[in-house]
């Protein structure tokens, strides 16, 4: 399977997809509020009719935000203080004609009437508590990196494994990294 999938997946002509467009972490920073590290980030997600059409056809999109805080070590691999992913979903609610945003476990939900509004909400992370300052081991500075990702959600993993070669609904941004000093 992999033998034939490899060239298909890596063929240059097939690289263009619905997630093409501006997709980057515009800014990100961490503030410490009463000993708690809170993440603030602004992610620019692509907006186009392909995404809109796919959502209105029933496709669910998952939006991941990967965060890594590591401590640089000499002569050895960096020590990871934190490796977390903020995972959210975006669906189009056909009955109400709204775009619905959910967190990973579906406990929190918000519906907005437009795709632009939904993506704007997804792209603004404000005051997300990520770590207690005392959990940072060693002396600073620490390396922080943030990356956003979009993929087709609500597809069973078995189906995803079956279609990994042709799944163009998967894209990740470049890492946005900076040095954290307390």
């Amino acid at each position: 399977m992999a033998l034939l999938a490899w060239p298909l997946a890596t063929a240059p002509g097939l690289a263009a997809g619905p997630l093409d467009g501006d997709f980057e972490v515009r800014s990100a920073f961490i503030v410490v509020d009463r000993g708690v590290l809170q993440l603030n980030a602004h992610v620019q997600y692509p907006v186009n009719d392909l995404i809109r059409g796919a959502l209105q056809d029933g496709v669910t999109l998952a939006f991941d935000l990967d965060l890594i805080i590591s401590h640089r070590r000499r002569f050895w691999l960096n020590a990871h203080m934190l490796d977390m992913t903020l995972r959210r979903e975006l669906t189009y609610h056909t009955v109400t004609d709204h775009y619905v945003l959910r967190n990973e476990n579906g406990e929190e939900q918000e519906s907005v009437p437009t795709l632009e509004e939904a993506l704007d909400k997804l792209g603004r992370i404000e005051g997300l508590p990520i770590l207690v300052a005392s959990q940072l081991k060693g002396e600073g500075p620490w390396q922080v990196a943030v990356r956003a990702g979009v993929r087709r959600g609500r597809m069973s993993d078995a189906m995803r494994a079956l279609m990994f070669w042709s799944d163009d609904w998967h894209r990740t941004s470049e890492w946005y990294a900076w040095t954290l000093t307390l």
Partner: protein, 743 residues
Amino acid sequence: MDADALRRFGVPVLTGLAIAAGLGALVLLAGSVENSALFSQWQPWILLLALCGVMALGVLLARKLWQLYRDFRDHRPGSRLTMRTVMIFGALVIAPLIIVYLFSLDFINRGIDSWFRVEIRQGLNDALVLSRSALDLRLREQARRTEIFARSLRDLRGPELLQRLDEERRATEAKQIVVFDANGRASALSSDTPVAQQPSAPPPDVALQVAAGHSYVSLNPLPNGQYTIATAAPIADAVSARAAHRYVLIDYEVPQELSALAEAVQHTSSQYGDLSAVREPLKVSFQLTLTLVVLLTLLGAIYGAIFSAQRLTRPVQDLIAGTRAVGKGDFATRLPLPSRDEMGFLVQSFNDMTKRLRRASEEAMRSRQAVERERERLAIILSRLSTGVIVTDRELQLHSANQSAATILGGSFETAVPGASLAQFAAGNMRFSTFLDQLRARLQSGLDEWREQLTLPGEAGQRVLLWACTPLPDERERGGVVIVFDDITALLAAQRDAAWGEVARRLAHEIKNPLTPIQLSAERLSRKLLGGMNAEDASVLERATHTIVQQVDAMKQMVNAFSEYARAPDMKLSYFSLNHLITEVAELYRLQDPAIEIRLELDPELPEIEADRGRVRQILANLITNGIEALAGAGDGCVELSTRQQRAEGAATAVISVRDNGPGFRKEILGRVFDPYVTGKPRGTGLGLAIVKRIVEEHGGRIEADNRPEGGAKVLVFLPVSDQDRTLFAGSERRVELRRERA
């Protein structure tokens, strides 16, 4: 790593690699299927492992196919059977596999297409429209109710307003009713929750829409699958423009049945949309997966077919190889038992057969070895026999002959093969030809058994054989005979020597004694009677007595010669230079007869020899005398004396060669020149060479006489240099003598 090691370890390593890669890919895939993030992370490794596994399988299969082709091309035993079996297995596997594959492809396409039939989509859309219609009806109803309720709130404030809100909430089973003032702050709240809470801020577009004098209605889904209807309407206060900005916001809960139905429609529509989006990729994925699985199955099946065919034909190949080995005489071939089935029985039978063949072969080998040993023993005995043995038939075709036969007859059987004609070995050999003529004459006359003495002529003198013929017992019908013969020439010569020695002793004893009185008597007669006789008588008497005295002297010389010949050996050995002695003796004869040239060619390296100087001088004198006498009357007579040293079988010998250019020995006496009373001269006792031979033999040496090819006689004397060489030379001479006796 060399080719052999690569062949030995390559296949197990590749097989292990293929299995490990396949298992590794499966483990990673199974682990990552439950976790899509892991799958994204492990996907390259899964691909790499799968690729490695497929490549290893491909290499193994290619190697098997190449091996199969090479065996087929080289006509290896069993390769055609293997190829045929592989083709049958392959056909049995490939044909149903392709059929199943094509049916499966069609089934997948039809199956997936059936999920997305138009009727389903239409049904879903209809359900969606129905749900929306039902909810829209509800929305409109709630919106109208809110508008009416907003109008009823005109100019109501404070407790009245709250009471009115509570009444309305209870009447309509609304979840919450909030009145917002112009600043967007909640001025009154009625909620069904026991604990009052701060109402959440209204959606931004609510205030705008209400401010424009329109009512607002919105349907909102909740995480638990419920729906709420949010409605807002401006409160038309009459007092001031400020009051006109108040509005009421009511949250209604959609009935659970309706919410569940709407949510089901939403959920189904969403799932259908998800599936529809992957419809074509799903088909391709399934087709690709099926194709890959079929391909892998096909490759595996072909590999398995080759492997099975080779296993199946291995016993046959072993049998072919074993049969060839047996055909080449290798009866130690044992084939491994493949199984206990019919093939195993066949192999077992083959092994039993080779075991019996080997036993029989070993028996035959032992018999052949015994025969060979007997033949070698007989050959050794025959080769050691001094007696010549020839086995032939009546057509004189040689069956076998020993070395002594060739030596005695002066021929060679080295190139003889059984069945060769004896005549071809006798060509140019007078002695052998005469022998063959005599044999042929006897066999043709019907004789096949005799024992006689046969004299054969030869260039070096006659040879006397004692030969006997006996028919072979089992060859009588075919006329095979064995001829056994001995050269008794030396034996006869020895007998003659012994006889002459006896005669010499008797002559010396019986004749020499009376000669002196006869001579004295004759001399006395002459002295006493000569003076009283007349001249005539005196002359007669004088001549008579002179004759008597002369003859007696001659007889004395003859008797002395005999005495010399018969005397007992009594040598005085000393070391002296043979070259000096020859020079000395030759000088005497040069002075005696200057007309004869005596030429010397002496080896300066010749060492002093240990011998009786007087006897050696006698040898030289006799030989030079014979030469000079042979040259009597010749104009350019020449006697050549030469010496040289010779080493044979460890014994150093001095060789004296005396040659003349006279007439040589007469052919009829050439073989007997050393016998007493055999002489070629008109006057001579015939004892000279006999005495020389005896002296030479007393020194442990040997003497030979022959004619020179260019004319003249040649005598060779071999004298051992020292006593030690004498012993060694005697040993070698005994061997030579043995050969000579054989001859």
